[in-house]
């Protein structure tokens, strides 16, 4: 038997004091299998030891929330006995090492989180962050990640309907791949993970276990250094075909009442799934590892417990229902094995070849997982950067074209055309708008879905950035006419052991909390990915937010496209002269400075509620929130989508570059018939919402009186070409 030395403990990522705690709990030395189990259970990835204290502060409740954080995914009520189940998860480190498989298995993992709860997945999203466009690895990573996401989702037959993509040097050595899945279930058919029923069979279904990704969970919790590319840890390979079968088989079994509890095997595989099920149910579990379906010979208990082979699930069945369940899994040609039973010992007892190979108390191991109050320092908020300190460009039309063809704003069509975004026949708003919209199959309801985060704002001022990320998702949902319901998050940060990084985390959480509260928009699920750091340089703090909203009548949906000539264009919200952290500042002045646009959550709420109500009342013909690049970019996007121009006149109270490119929050552009525009103006006044007429739609150029006039086709050219050009291999 392997002796547990200091080195082995350290290799398992356990600190000295953590190992002390292990000894205390067991009253003896662990064997290697047990040490491995502690190490993954207490890894940052599984235990949330650095983040738990702060995550607890987020608002998680609302009358429509059926299940908040803590289960595999969050559940919200969408009426008529139906629920939306959704979550976002990171697969950052694996995707950097092997972009195709890393991204693919990321999608596979988040899909399982959602269908393990009884939902049929109906939409996927992906939030991606890559290094600077000209970094030597960027093209390879973009191409691998995008084909991996498509490869998995397309094969599963679940539409990937949107996402977001940023490029910034802070991600050069640590890309972010965050995948989100939304599913739909009946509220009386939701499945949870708490094991129950002493003596009930513990059942393993899905693919066989191999030596895949052993120690993936600890890898995702350790900082990169230049060696890690050489170490080449075992990468998991995804098998979307098997997952599709697993999905159908699970849903078929879920239609019966044979399942007591079910949990997917994600990071740390059999270990975390079995411990979580036992811990939640307050029971013990006994597993005979000989019965685990194995792909390879000679696997040790350590390897079986730590394997991260994909496409597997663990279930507790009602007694006597094994044969019925087995028949379903055999029909779908999947492995099915009874591997153990629920016990009243409160212990996890693993046997192999007749020997006990691990004997661990469940509750102490789970409950006394370390929890840290890591030291943190607040990021000092920078001062706003006034427009009058920057020269007004001589050629504002050219400036707009520069922004439209910049890495941040250029079209992502090259990406979404590689994703099947229409399969399942319910995508009624495809990628390219503010939020994707999918109908709830067979009803007239629809879900709006978006992911957003502006990492440069979070870096400059975490609290404002955290609030802004939440508010932007809320705004994107609102712009489609949906009622925002709830969010999931994926908190991607650097090394939490550095106080300034921990301060970014704390700040972002504070901002998110304020926004969730002000907008009645709770957090129902989420994920934390720390140590996104290479050689001591962290990524920009990136709390990616995934929001969903409900359109009670899908026919009320609004889109960003200008619909007809001669319609009135209106601006909701106020513009200031703060140019801090704008894309304009970065692209035109080459500076990343100043305070991000301020967030006023009361105004945010008023403006959004006004826009949504106006859409739902049928007064609005097109709507778009204003984000990166400001008003001029929003107008350009509406013109591109509608393939028609506009003539705009701006008040001259602001310098031209602020009026066109400032990124003030809580703003939207909407269009209406001339008659309805008057009604909107009256309503806005009553609701204390700033609303002004900007101009009219029509012709084939975007014209801002006295400032710029460019043809829609010129805008399309720069906007559509940037990403394909980046991705074209030289000489091709």
């Amino acid at each position: 038997m392997t002796e547990i030395t200091k080195e082995i403990v350290a290799e398992h990522g356990l600190s000295e004091s953590e190992y002390e705690r292990v000894l205390e709990i067991l009253g003896r030395e662990p064997n290697l299998t047990e040490l491995g189990i502690f190490s993954v259970m207490w890894s940052e990835h599984c235990s949330y030891k650095s983040s738990k204290k702060w995550l607890k502060t987020l608002p998680t409740e609302a009358p429509w929330v059926i299940c908040g954080p803590g289960e595999n995914a969050g559940v919200v009520d969408i009426g008529d006995g139906q629920a939306a189940i959704f979550k976002m998860e990171s697969h950052n480190h694996p995707s950097y090492i092997e972009p195709y498989q890393g991204a693919a298995t990321g999608v596979g993992g988040i899909l399982r989180d959602v269908f393990t709860m009884g939902a049929r997945p109906v939409a996927n999203m992906n939030a991606l962050r890559f290094g600077r466009p000209d970094h030597p690895k960027t093209r390879h990573l973009v191409s691998g990640v995008v084909s991996g996401i498509g490869g998995y989702g397309n094969c599963m037959g679940i539409p990937t309907v949107g996402g977001e993509t940023n490029f910034h040097a802070s991600y050069d050595g640590n890309i972010l791949v965050n995948a989100m899945t939304v599913g739909i279930a009946d509220t009386d058919k939701i499945f949870y993970s708490a094991a129950a029923g002493i003596g009930n069979p513990v059942v393993y279904v899905g693919s066989k276990t191999g030596r895949d990704g052993i120690h993936g969970a600890t890898m995702a919790s350790a900082e990169f250094d230049d060696d890690s590319e050489e170490k080449r840890p075992t990468v998991q390979v995804g098998d979307p075909f098997t997952e599709k079968l697993l999905l159908e088989a699970c849903l078929e079994l879920m239609a019966t009442d044979a399942i007591v509890a079910i949990q997917d095997m994600g990071a740390a595989g059999l270990t975390s799934s079995s411990f979580e099920m036992a811990d939640k149910g307050g029971v013990g579990i006994q597993i005979d590892l000989d019965n685990v379906p194995m792909r390879e010979e000679g696997m040790t208990p350590y390897e079986i417990m730590l394997s991260e082979s994909q496409e597997r699930m663990l279930m507790i069945l009602k007694p006597g229902r094994e044969d019925e369940a087995r028949a379903i899994f055999e029909k779908w040609e999947l492995d099915f094995a009874v591997i153990g039973k629920v016990t009243d010992t409160g212990k996890m007892v693993l046997t192999m070849h007749g020997d006990i190979v691990a004997d661990l108390p469940v509750a102490p191991l789970a409950d006394s997982a370390p929890e840290y109050d890591r030291p943190w320092v607040k990021t000092e908020a920078p001062a706003p950067l006034k427009a009058d300190t920057l020269p007004v460009p001589a050629d504002l039309g050219k400036t707009l074209l520069n922004l439209m063809g910049s890495s941040e704003i250029a079209s992502r069509k090259w990406i979404w055309e590689q994703y099947d975004h229409m399969v399942m026949g319910d995508t009624i708003q495809r990628p390219g708008g503010d939020a994707a919209v999918v109908r709830v199959h067979g009803t007239d309801k629809a879900l709006a879905i978006t992911t957003d985060c502006t990492p440069r704002y979070c870096y400059a001022d975490p609290e404002t950035g955290g609030a802004q990320a939440v508010a932007e998702t809320w705004r994107n949902l609102t712009a489609t006419g949906a009622d925002p319901l709830a969010i999931t998050d994926c908190m991607n940060f650097g090394n939490p052991e550095r106080p300034e990084i921990m301060g970014q985390f704390v700040g972002c959480i504070a901002g998110m909390k304020a926004a969730c509260n002000a907008l009645d928009y709770p957090v129902v699920s989420g994920n934390v990915s720390l140590y996104n750091e290479t050689n001591g340089t962290g990524i920009h703090p990136t709390p990616a937010i995934g929001g969903i909203g409900l359109l009670k009548q899908s026919s009320h949906m609004s889109t960003i496209a200008f619909k007809a000539d001669g319609e009135t264009i209106l601006l909701v919200g106020e513009t200031t002269d703060n140019m801090g952290q704008t894309i304009y500042l970065r692209e035109i002045e080459g500076r990343e400075e100043g305070a991000p646009p301020a967030i006023n959550l009361e105004q945010e709420r008023r403006n959004g509620d006004f826009v949504r109500a106006s859409i739902q009342a049928g007064l609005v013909t097109a709507s778009h929130d204003i984000s990166d690049g400001g008003l001029a970019v929003a107008l350009s996007e509406m013109a591109l989508a509608g393939d028609r121009g506009a003539t705009i006149t701006l008040e001259d109270s602001l310098p031209a570059h602020a009026a066109l490119f400032a990124e003030d929050q809580a703003r939207y552009v909407i269009t209406a018939t001339a008659e309805n525009a008057q009604t909107l103006l009256e309503n806005a006044k009553k609701a204390d919402v700033p609303l002004q007429i900007l101009g009219t739609t029509g012709h084939n150029e975007l014209k801002v009186t006295g400032m710029l006039a460019i043809s829609v086709s010129d805008i399309r050219q720069v906007h559509s070409q940037w990403l394909p050009d980046l991705m074209t291999v030289p000489g091709h």
């Binding site: 990468v235 998991q236 390979v237 075909f241 040609e333």
Partner: protein, 80 residues
């Protein structure tokens, strides 16, 4: 001068394709068939290159592009 590079999945790496092929062969009545693994062969025309340089050159192509050494092994032979 030509090269033929054979790329196969490392031992222990899941091979969904191989699994599906084995399954299909069983379905067609080839019951004896055991494990199936699928790999790639890439045939390259190396053009005008000194025979002595070829091995190093192909080796470089393999590690830089042809094989994903995280999950794949490669081997090659030179033909002419």
């Amino acid at each position: 001068m030509k090269a033929r590079v054979t790329i196969s999945l490392k031992n222990g790496v899941l091979d969904p394709q191989g699994k599906a092929i084995a399954h299909a062969l069983h379905g067609l009545g080839f019951d004896n068939v055991g494990e199936v693994r699928q790999g790639k062969v890439i045939e390259l025309d190396l053009g005008d290159i000194a025979a002595a340089d070829a091995p190093a050159e192909v080796e470089k192509m393999c590690t830089q592009l042809l094989a994903n050494t995280v999950i794949e092994n490669y081997e090659f032979e030179l033909l002419d």
